[in-house]
C-alpha cells in the first residue's frame, strides 16, 4: 500500500534527541455515531500494551447523532494522573474538527485528516495558519474500502496511522482488536486488523520522523488493565460481593448499569433496571433489609429523587451503597460534563440528623478499593454509604496495574442468629443501650429474630414510639454509630514532600489534575508543593486534617464547584480556612498545565 501524501512540505524538522518529550496527547474528533469513543479506547489500549501509561478523556454533547464527539488520550512513560489539554496528534474525521481543535494544538503537532471526506473537498492545508504543523491527508475511506471495509471504518484506518506515527509495534494493535472484538468472528477480527494495517502502512518513514514525539515503550511491561472509573466501581462491587443492583439510567452513571447488567449474572447478581430512581433505591433497601448486599447509582438529579429514601435507610438501619456520579448542575445542567457540585447535596440529603458515610475516591484505583470499603461500612454500620465520583472520573479511562487492585475481605457486620428453641432470649433489633450503637441485624426468615424496620421513630423492637425518653435514647444510639465510625475514619491521601511552601487540598477527580500539576511544578518549574486529598468526606477525618493543615505554610483548595463546597465543609469541620481557592465550574476538568501555572503564579506573587 502506498501512502497518499497530501502535504508534508510545511512540516517541521524533527526535534533533536534532547528535546523529545516523554508523553503525548492524541485526540480524535468527528461526528457522533462514527465510532469515536471506541477508536479512542483502542488507541489507549494499544499505548498501554506498548508499556505506556494512559489517561483517556471523552467529550460529547447530550445527543446521539450529529453532535461533535472527541476522545483525548494522554500517553506517557511517566505516570499519567490526568489528560493534558494540549494536543500533539489530532485525527480529524471531519473538517469541523480542525477548526475546533486548532487552538489546542501544541508546537509541531501532527494532524491526520480524511482527504476523501466530502467536508475536506476544498480544504487546503496551506490555509491553516500554523507553519509548525505536520498536516497529513490520508484517503481514509478509500483505504478502508480497498482493504475490504466500509466508510464507517475510517476511524480504524486513522487509528493505524496514529500508531504508526508513534511507532507503536503493530503486534499490540492486533491484540487490541482481539480484545475489543472478542465476541466477533475471526473473519471480522481479521478484517479489522487488515484495515488497521492499511492505515499503519500509509504513514511514511519521513512522516514518522517529522512527528517529534518519542514515547519509548517500557522494556518490561507490567500487567495492566484499562478501565473507566465506573468500570472500576462495578468491578469493585463484584469483588465486594454485591448481590443486588437496581438503577435508572442517568449520565454519567449509566455505564455501571451496563457493566453489571452484562457481567453481574455470572457472579450471582440480580441487576434491575428500575422504573425510576425512587424505585431503584427503595428496591435496593428492600433487598438489603432481606439480607443481601445492595447498591444503586445515579447522578445528581436522580440522587435528588432518592433523597427521602436515604433517610429511611438510616432510620431503619439498612445499609446500602449509593453512587452519585456528579455532572454539572443545577437541574438537568450539563448532562455530559464534569463538576463537583453535589457534595453539599449528599452531605445534607434527607430530613433530620442521622449517620451517613460519604466516600470520594480520587483515582481509578481508589474507585475499586473504596467501593469494597463502602459495602463493608454499609453493613457494619447499618447506614447509607454514598460514594461520590464525577463525569471525569466515571467515564475517563486510566491504566491500573493488576497488582494495584487491592482486594478487601468482606465484613458483613453483626448478624443475629437464633439461639434455637422457643425460650431464646428476646431479640431487640434497636436495643437502645448498646454501647457502640450497633445492634446485630436479623435477616427475615430467622426464627426468634422478628422486628419492625420502621421509618417512624421506634422503640427497641421497632414499634412506633414518640415518647421523648425513647426518642432521645434512639437518636443517641444512632449518633453513637458515628462516634464508633470516626475511630476508623479513612485519613486523607498525602502526595508530595512532607514539607513544602505550598499545600494543595482537593478531592475526587480534581486530584488527578492536582497530582499532575505537582509533577509539572517539580519537574519544569523546580517548585515544591504537596497535596492533601480528602477521600472520606463524612464522617470527616477532622483530627488528621487539622493537624496536617496547621503544619502547612500556604494553602490552596482546588475543587470543581462555584461556591467552594469542600472549602466550606472543611471550615465547618476544622475551623480552618484557605489562603487561596481555585474553583472551576464550566464543566471542563482542570488542566494540569494551566493548574500548575496558576499555582506557580500564586506561589510567586503572594
Amino acid at each position: 500500500m502506498t501512502a497518499q501524501l497530501n502535504d508534508i512540505t510545511r512540516a517541521p524538522r524533527p526535534r533533536s534527541g534532547s528535546d523529545r518529550v516523554q508523553g503525548i496527547t492524541w485526540k480524535i474528533g468527528g461526528e457522533a455515531g462514527f465510532g469515536i469513543m471506541s477508536t479512542g479506547e483502542m488507541f489507549a489500549r494499544a499505548c498501554m500494551r506498548a508499556g505506556l501509561n494512559v489517561f483517556t478523556y471523552p467529550e460529547y454533547p447530550s445527543l446521539i447523532r450529529g453532535g461533535h464527539n472527541t476522545v483525548q488520550v494522554t500517553a506517557s512513560t511517566q505516570p499519567v494522573h490526568a489528560h493534558r489539554a494540549q494536543v500533539n496528534i489530532l485525527v480529524a474525521l471531519n473538517r469541523e474538527s480542525i477548526g475546533l481543535h486548532l487552538p489546542e494544538l501544541g508546537p509541531r503537532a501532527s494532524i491526520i485528516y480524511d482527504a476523501t471526506d466530502r467536508t475536506f473537498a476544498d480544504f487546503k492545508p496551506s490555509s491553516v495558519q500554523r507553519r509548525d504543523l505536520q498536516i497529513i491527508g490520508l484517503p481514509l475511506e478509500k483505504l478502508a474500502k480497498d482493504a475490504g471495509g466500509q466508510k464507517l471504518m475510517c476511524n480504524t484506518v486513522a487509528l493505524g496511522a496514529s500508531c504508526a506515527l508513534l511507532e507503536i509495534p503493530p503486534d499490540h494493535l492486533a491484540e487490541v482488536v482481539r480484545i475489543m472484538f472478542h465476541e466477533k468472528t475471526e473473519i471480522v477480527i481479521a478484517l479489522n486488523v487488515k484495515i488497521l494495517m492499511s492505515g499503519y502502512n500509509a504513514i511514511s518513514a519521513v512522516q514518522k520522523k517529522r512527528c517529534p514525539w518519542d514515547v519509548k515503550p517500557a522494556k518490561t511491561i507490567v500487567e495492566q488493565v484499562l478501565l473507566t472509573g465506573n468500570e472500576a466501581l462495578a468491578l469493585g462491587a463484584i469483588q465486594a460481593g454485591c448481590q443486588f443492583y437496581s438503577a435508572y439510567p442517568m449520565t454519567p452513571a449509566t455505564s455501571i448499569l451496563h457493566y453489571l447488567a452484562q457481567h453481574g449474572p455470572d457472579y450471582g447478581i440480580v441487576v434491575r433496571h428500575a422504573e425510576d430512581e425512587i424505585g431503584a433505591i427503595n428496591q435496593a433497601i428492600g433487598a438489603a433489609y432481606a439480607g443481601v448486599r445492595a447498591m444503586t447509582a445515579t447522578s445528581g438529579g436522580g440522587f435528588s429523587l432518592m433523597t427521602e429514601a436515604v433517610g429511611m435507610a438510616a432510620m431503619t438501619e439498612v445499609g446500602i451503597v449509593v453512587i452519585d456520579a456528579q455532572r454539572g448542575g443545577p437541574s438537568t445542567g450539563l448532562p455530559t460534563w464534569t463538576e463537583q457540585g453535589d457534595l453539599r447535596q449528599v452531605l445534607h440529603a434527607s430530613q433530620g440528623d442521622f449517620p451517613r458515610v460519604v466516600l470520594a475516591p480520587s483515582s481509578h484505583r481508589e474507585c475499586f478499593t473504596m467501593i469494597q470499603e463502602a459495602f463493608n461500612l454499609a453493613e457494619q454500620y447499618q447506614t447509607p454509604v454514598i460514594v461520590l465520583t464525577d463525569k471525569y472520573l466515571a467515564e475517563g479511562q486510566r491504566n491500573v496495574s493488576v497488582g494495584e487492585l487491592k482486594l478487601l475481605p468482606i465484613n458483613r457486620g453483626k448478624i443475629w442468629t437464633a439461639t434455637g428453641g422457643k425460650t431464646a432470649a428476646a431479640y431487640l433489633r434497636y436495643q437502645a443501650d448498646v454501647a457502640d450503637g450497633i445492634v446485630p441485624r436479623s435477616l427475615p426468615g430467622t426464627p426468634n429474630g422478628l422486628f419492625l424496620a420502621n421509618s417512624d421513630e421506634h422503640d427497641d423492637y421497632g414499634y412506633s414510639n414518640e415518647d421523648a425518653p425513647n426518642r432521645l435514647a434512639q437518636m443517641e444510639r444512632r449518633a453513637r454509630k458515628v462516634a464508633t465510625l470516626c475511630k476508623k475514619s479513612i485519613p486523607p491521601r498525602y502526595v508530595g514532600p512532607a514539607k513544602a511552601p505550598l499545600t494543595v487540598v482537593t478531592w475526587g477527580s480534581s486530584a488527578s489534575a492536582v497530582e499532575a500539576a505537582l509533577d509539572i511544578l517539580d519537574r519544569e518549574h523546580k517548585l515544591q508543593a504537596n497535596a492533601i486529598i480528602i477521600t472520606m468526606i463524612a464522617p470527616f477525618p477532622t483530627a488528621a486534617v487539622t493537624t496536617k493543615l496547621k503544619s502547612t505554610k500556604r494553602t490552596v483548595i482546588v475543587e470543581a464547584s462555584q461556591s467552594g463546597q469542600l472549602a466550606g465543609w472543611i471550615r465547618q469541620q476544622t475551623g480552618l480556612t484557605f489562603d487561596h481557592a481555585i474553583n472551576r465550574y464550566d464543566g471542563r476538568p482542570f488542566d494540569p498545565i494551566d493548574l500548575a501555572n496558576e499555582l506557580k503564579s500564586y506561589l510567586l506573587t503572594s
Binding site: F244, A287, A290, T316, P444, L452
Partner: protein, 286 residues
C-alpha cells in the same frame, strides 16, 4: 399439621384506629389468612406504607417494614428478589398507593414479582384528617376540596386489568370471612396479586359508609363470573350500579423472579457473596 394460631401474628399493641374503622376487618382477615395457610410469622415479610393502613405495622407481628409514603411496592419487590423463599406482602392505602405511589403500582404489575398487594381503599385521606383521595368521587367535599373534588376517581381494578395484572381482586372490610379467602388466594397466586379492599372510614367519609357499601357490594361468585375471562373481568370492573367483590381476573404468567437466572436454584440471600474471581473480567480490560 396444625395451623399456627391466628394470634401468632398478634403484636402487643392494640390498634389505634378509630372504633369501627374498616381497617379492623382487614387486619383480622390478614392474620387469619396467614394462619390458615400455615405460614409462620418469621417466614413472612410485610411492607407497609404511610397512612392509617401503614400504622397496621405496629399491630402485626412478622418481619415488618414500615417505609415511606407510596413506596411499599419497590421495597417489597427488593425483598422478594432477595429472598424468594419468604411470603412477601405489601400493604398500602389509596392515597399511599394510588396517589404517591401510582407509578410503582403500574410498573410492579408489569414486573410481576411474587408479592401480594393489599390496598386499604377508603376513598379519603384518614391520617392527615379527611382530604380527598385518588379514589374519592367527583364532587366529594373535603377540607382540601371544599367546593367539591374536581377530579374523577381512578378505578384500581380496571387499571390493574389494563396493566396486565395476573391476579385482580376486590374485597370488603365488612365481610372479613370473604376477604380472608381472597387474601389466601392472592398469597397462593404465583406472581403479583392485587387485593383492593373497600374500607369505610367512619370518621372522615360520610358518603362511602358501611351502610352504603352493604347496599352496593355483590359477590362475583353469585354473578357466575369466570375469573379467567379478561373481557368479562373488565366489564365487571366497570360496574358502578353494583360494586362486585371477589376475584375479577386470575391468570398465571412468568414472574419477575423467573427472569433472573441467578434465582433459578435458590434464593439470593442463601448464595454467598464471598470468593468471587474477577480475573476473567480483568482479562477483557487488557
Amino acid at each position: 399439621m396444625t395451623a399456627p394460631a391466628h394470634n401468632a401474628f398478634a403484636s402487643p399493641n392494640f390498634p389505634t384506629w378509630c372504633p369501627g374503622c374498616g381497617n379492623f376487618g382487614i387486619w383480622t382477615a390478614l392474620k387469619q389468612a396467614l394462619a390458615e395457610l400455615n405460614i409462620e410469622p418469621h417466614r413472612t415479610v410485610i411492607v407497609f406504607g404511610i397512612g392509617c393502613s401503614g400504622n397496621e405495622s405496629n399491630f402485626v407481628k412478622a418481619y415488618g417494614f414500615h417505609g415511606l409514603h407510596g413506596r411499599t411496592l419497590p421495597v417489597a419487590e427488593g425483598v422478594a428478589l432477595a429472598n424468594s423463599g419468604l411470603t412477601t406482602i405489601a400493604i398500602g392505602g389509596d392515597g399511599d398507593g394510588y396517589g404517591e405511589g401510582m407509578a410503582h403500582f403500574i410498573h410492579t404489575i408489569r414486573a410481576n414479582p411474587n408479592i401480594t398487594y393489599i390496598v386499604h381503599d377508603n376513598q379519603v385521606y384518614g391520617l392527615t384528617k379527611g382530604q380527598t383521595s385518588p379514589t374519592s368521587e367527583h364532587g366529594f367535599e373535603t377540607p382540601s376540596t371544599p367546593f367539591g373534588n374536581p377530579d374523577s376517581p381512578i378505578n384500581p381494578i380496571s387499571l390493574a386489568i389494563a396493566a396486565g395484572a395476573g391476579f385482580v381482586a376486590r374485597g370488603f372490610a365488612g365481610d372479613a370471612g370473604h376477604l380472608t379467602g381472597l387474601i389466601k388466594s392472592a398469597i397462593q397466586h404465583r406472581g403479583f396479586s392485587l387485593v383492593d379492599v373497600f374500607q369505610p372510614c367512619v370518621t372522615f367519609n360520610a358518603t362511602n359508609t358501611f351502610r352504603w357499601f352493604f347496599g352496593k357490594v355483590v359477590k362475583l361468585e353469585t354473578l357466575k363470573h369466570d375469573p379467567t375471562n379478561r373481557d368479562t373481568a373488565w366489564k365487571q370492573a366497570q360496574n358502578e350500579e353494583k360494586l362486585p367483590i371477589g376475584i375479577f381476573y386470575q391468570q398465571e404468567k412468568p414472574t419477575l423472579e423467573d427472569g433472573f437466572s441467578v434465582l433459578a436454584k435458590r434464593p439470593l440471600v442463601e448464595q454467598s457473596p464471598e470468593k468471587r474471581q474477577i480475573k476473567p473480567l480483568l482479562e477483557r480490560m487488557k
